[in-house]
């Protein structure tokens, strides 16, 4: 366990560095200048030169190392920066640093994502277990059908339908973000594909496990069906769900562009898209680094959870 942790924590900076370098190369290859916004005015060449120098845009390798030094806290140690992890300024939104933008948007996406995952887990596992235990019944078919729809329907369709019904027609919830009632619809929308996938994983896992020897033993011991299913079978059937949870949660909490657009939520997803459109280099690097770190951490958490749930798994 300790070895797992140590080796992963050593891998983390290397992985992030690789991702940083790749993102950097890709972001620099986006055509156009980050200082050339979609408006019809061009600042004088002297101004452009001063700005290029200001943000190290005149030399990409200077940018690469300077940004790396800022992000890793080297600038802070040298006294060049007042914040420890300096993600730089946004080139589009002058006056906002990338850290500020992320710290405003990330909590929103975190709430939305965690809420959605909670809903997805509860409904997905529930539906999966029912489907497996009552195999080929009406419940099985209907949960499978719902799951299929959940996976197939894009979120902008489900989101728009829910929004039209509950906000526009019924007028129950205002569009936006803030109160609990405003969070329910986007959480449900975001949870649908995850719930569907979890339901299918759980059902398959359960079907496998319910036919295995140790379940037969448990039943033979005279345990009630409830205990057999929840305590013995589910624990094993849950494993594939667990490995899905890592990347899924990381994805869910870093925001969804589509859902944010439909429900007008000030989350992270929009920045992944608009930062690239604006060639806002600092913001691109910031959000990608954050996503990479989260992904690695969640995968690590899943590995830890694995060894807790299933002691047979030995990490070397």
């Amino acid at each position: 366990m300790t070895r797992l942790l140590v080796s992963r924590l050593i891998q983390l900076p290397i992985l992030v560095l690789v991702i940083y370098t790749t993102t950097f190369l890709l972001a620099w290859s986006i055509p156009g200048s980050p200082l050339d916004m979609a408006d019809e005015r061009k600042p004088p060449p002297e101004v452009q030169a001063a700005m290029q120098a200001q943000y190290n845009l005149d030399n990409q390798w200077v940018f690469y190392w300077e940004y790396l030094a800022g992000v890793t806290g080297i600038h802070y140690l040298q006294g060049k920066s007042e914040v420890v992890f300096d993600f730089g300024p946004s080139l589009r939104y002058k006056g906002w640093t990338v850290s500020e933008i992320i710290s405003g948007a990330f909590p929103v996406s975190l709430q939305l994502g965690l809420g959605a995952m909670l809903i997805a887990l509860v409904t997905g596992i529930g539906a999966g277990v029912i489907g497996a235990v009552r195999r080929d019944s009406f419940w099985d078919f209907s949960t499978l059908a719902v799951a299929l729809v959940g996976i197939s329907l894009p979120t902008f369709v489900t989101g728009s339908v829910l929004l039209t019904i509950f906000s526009v027609w019924l007028g129950w919830v205002a569009i936006g973000w803030g109160s609990f009632s405003q969070m329910i619809l986007p959480m449900i929308t975001l949870s649908l594909p995850f719930a569907a996938y979890i339901a299918r994983l759980t059902r398959m896992g359960m079907l496998d496990v319910l036919g295995s020897d140790f379940v037969r033993t448990a039943r033979a011991k005279g345990l009630s069906e409830k205990v057999v299913v929840t305590k013995h079978a589910l624990k094993v059937a849950f494993l594939p769900v667990l490995s899905f949870l890592g990347p899924a949660t990381a994805g869910a909490i870093t925001g969804s562009f589509v859902i944010e657009k439909v429900f007008n939520i000030p989350g992270m997803g929009q920045h992944f898209v608009s930062a690239v459109q604006n060639k806002d280099l600092f913001l691109i690097m910031g959000v990608v680094i954050l996503y990479a770190i989260l992904l690695i951490i969640f995968n690590l958490l899943v590995d830890i959870a694995y060894s807790l749930v299933d002691p047979r798994i030995q990490h070397t």
């Binding site: 061009k42 101004v47 030169a49 887990l121 305590k231 060639k279 749930v309």
Partner: protein
């Protein structure tokens, strides 16, 4: 089982707590939607969304009546007194004008703001408004040159290596001469501020009378104008400026060796290589560079007084001299670019960046709590991409004219959700109705009298296509659009009415003029050439392409989004059908499209232009030889002469006649563009619930005049 449930319980608890901690949001008297506000620093603004907010926060010497777009006294207590030659404007400030912290607004606040706005370090986009001040551009040039003198010392080694590499690898430059036959590409004109500047300097400093003033020349930090080296900018002069600034001996020696080496012979190169090694290290140069940079910062104010015609005889008087006749200058002093900035705040947030020597102001000054403003409102809350909350400024001198207590600007990233929010009463006003995908259907609903809360209003802008008028295309092949008969033909076969009726469908007015008609009082746009396909075909035949025979396939360049593709397709069809030529479409992302259009790497490209001030010049300048936004590279001596004559014509009537003549050259004769229609802006608001929204084409909105109808 319990163990499995624990994470879920923790997750749920975390969610509940974080939701409970979400602060309640204030609602605001009037709620207005916005899509993207990039800055609240008035000098940095250039999008109309931002600019609208600037008028809520700031007030210039003059202000606007939003319904007539006439300048009215703002911080100044009356209209300015204008000198006989119309070059000097004197403003008297009102006593009761106050900043939101209670301190009085003085003439110094304006002068300071204009000085800061002219620095290249700050990078204002609308700096041309400040160039109207006498010497404004000279000051900017000085500030830029004095900065580059320092940075070129810092980068001495890197630049030297680059130069050495180029000298070794590149063949001697011959490419420069390639385009000389292309006489439509006129050489860059001498800077228009030069004669004035030279005259001034010669008058004030007799010892400079024998100096050569061929641009570009340099200035040096630390050297006041009294003993300045005002010569053209050769390396010798750069060295001379360093000498005058008492640059440290080792750096001066290195700069001499590097900058003065011509790199012609092999010996030069050998010497150069060994000299590069002798350049002092970055660390050792830093203190000296910092000294120069600090000196430059100290010089910023005295140099402004020296070079720029803005005088402050007392706290409540400001005398502005103009570089040239600017008949609309009163309006310019009402704009966001010339609004005052609060001294102590600027001082607190300005600093010298020690790594690249820019004199920056920390954008944090625009945050709630930091920003001190002098308009009807102050910013009390700004949550990025969520909302901006403006509250009544208790110290605003004209407080009784403010009809509401607060404005909440709410962010909507998608036009659909903005529309839903408007429909459900979440917002009171939106100015972004034209971005709604079904805007045309909404406009139809208004015409059918099914709704009354959608307002399509003519803007002060033209949607147009621009022709490349150069002799040759960048690919090297001859450009058919170099012939004005071809451009006229391409104009005549376009049925603009059918485009606005069937493609854009917001009720836009087709236009053959270039300056939007009926906006500027007393100015009459020429008729232009209308829809006449027969005449068009005849012209194309006259140009040597009867029935389109021999005409090369052309490409329409446009940027993605906003329905540009639909218009381009319609044009493609009209040109193909009427002129029998082959037309291709090329859609590009803005970031790729824009540089290509700027470099004139196109045959026909989509474009649009909104006027910056209420004068034909803001449109006509676009076709002046060598101006930055002249994408067609149109160059016509008669046209330039007319504009220059107009610039020196003190009588407004006569000036308008000259400008009308110039416009006629564009719209009736040469046609470097295909004007299609006047932009429509679509506002959403219910006239039964809200009053005060202006329908003037300039889209000037004064939020403090908005009032809810109870």
């Amino acid at each position: 089982m319990i163990r499995i449930l624990i994470p879920f319980a923790l997750l749920g608890a975390f969610l509940a707590i974080s939701i409970a901690l979400e602060p309640a949001q204030p609602r605001g008297d009037i709620r207005i939607s916005y899509t993207d506000i990039t800055t609240l620093d008035p000098q940095m603004m250039n999008a109309s969304v931002d600019i609208r907010v600037s008028y809520a926060l700031y007030e210039g010497l003059m202000s606007f009546n939003p319904y007539t777009f006439k300048p009215i006294p703002g911080v100044a207590k009356d209209h300015p007194t204008i000198s006989e030659d119309r070059l000097t404007y004197t403003y008297h400030l009102r006593k009761d004008a106050k900043w939101s912290d209670g301190s009085p607004v003085t003439a110094h606040d304006f002068k300071r703001a204009w000085r800061l706005g002219l620095l290249p370090d700050v990078a204002p986009k609308y700096i041309d408004f400040l160039y109207f001040l006498r010497g404004g551009k000279t000051y900017f040039k000085w500030a830029a040159r004095s900065l580059s003198d320092i940075t070129s010392l810092k980068n001495l080694e890197a630049n030297a290596r680059k130069r050495y590499e180029e000298a070794n690898t590149l063949p001697p430059k011959k490419e420069d001469k390639k385009d000389t036959k292309d006489n439509k590409d006129a050489p860059p004109p001498p800077p228009e501020w030069l004669p004035d500047f030279v005259q001034n300097i010669r008058k004030n400093y007799p010892h400079t009378k024998n100096l050569d003033f061929t641009p570009p020349f340099g200035f040096l930090p630390g050297v006041s104008v009294k003993n300045e080296f005002l010569t053209d900018d050769t390396p010798q002069n750069q060295i001379a400026r360093y000498e005058a600034a008492n640059l440290r001996e080792d750096m001066l020696t290195a700069a001499r060796k590097i900058l003065l080496n011509p790199l012609k012979t092999e010996d030069d190169k050998k010497q150069f290589l060994s000299d590069i090694e002798s350049i002092p290290s970055q660390e050792s140069m830093q203190p000296e560079l910092l000294r120069l940079a600090k000196q430059r910062v100290q010089d910023l104010e005295p140099m402004f007084d020296e070079l720029v015609g803005v005088k402050v005889p007392d706290d409540r008087t400001i005398v502005v001299e103009l570089q040239e006749l600017v008949p609309f200058f009163e309006e310019i002093t009402a704009t966001w670019v010339l609004c005052p900035l609060h001294g102590p705040t600027m001082e607190k947030f300005s600093r010298l960046d020690e790594s690249n020597f820019n004199f920056l102001r920390d954008p944090l000054w625009t945050r709630p709590g930091n920003m001190v403003s002098n308009g009807p409102y102050v910013v009390t809350s700004w949550q990025f991409k969520r909302f901006i909350y403006l509250s009544r400024n208790p110290h605003y001198w004209n407080g009784k004219a403010v009809k509401n207590n607060s404005i909440k600007l709410v962010n909507y990233t998608s036009p659909q959700s903005m529309f839903h929010a408007f429909d459900t009463g979440e917002i009171d006003v939106s100015f972004d109705g034209s971005t709604i995908p079904f805007a045309a259907e909404l406009a139809q609903a208004v015409r059918d009298r099914k709704r009354n809360d959608i307002h399509a209003i003519d803007g002060f802008g033209v949607y147009y296509y621009v022709f490349n008028t150069k002799v040759k295309l960048p690919s090297g092949r001859p450009n058919p659009f170099n012939d004005k008969r071809v451009r006229r033909a391409f104009n005549m076969v376009v049925n603009k009415q059918s485009i606005v009726d069937h493609v854009t469908r917001l009720g836009q007015k087709p236009t053959n003029a270039w300056v939007p008609p009926n906006v500027i009082d007393g100015y009459r746009s020429p008729k232009g050439i209308g829809y006449d396909p027969d005449q068009g075909r005849a012209l194309l035949a006259e140009a040597g392409f009867p029935d389109g025979k021999g005409f090369p396939a052309i490409e329409i360049l446009y940027n993605s989004g906003s329905g540009h593709g639909d218009v381009a397709q319609r044009l493609q069809k009209m040109w193909q059908d009427e002129l029998k030529i082959k037309v291709d479409l090329k859609e590009l992302e803005w970031k790729v499209f824009h540089p290509r259009r700027t470099k004139s790497d196109f045959e026909v490209a989509r474009s649009g232009w909104f006027g910056d001030y209420n004068d034909p010049q803001t449109f006509l300048d676009l076709f002046k030889t060598g101006t930055g936004n002249n994408d067609s590279k149109f160059s016509n001596k008669e046209y330039d002469d007319l504009l220059n004559q107009a610039a020196n014509e003190p009588d407004p009537e006569a000036r308008f006649r000259l400008l009308e003549k110039a416009e006629a050259l564009v719209t009736d004769d040469h046609l470097p563009v295909l004007p299609l229609y006047i932009y429509k802006q679509v506002f959403l608001y219910d006239p039964d619930k809200l009053k005060g929204v202006s329908h003037h084409p300039r889209n000037m909105q004064m939020f403090h005049l908005y009032e809810k109808i109870k």
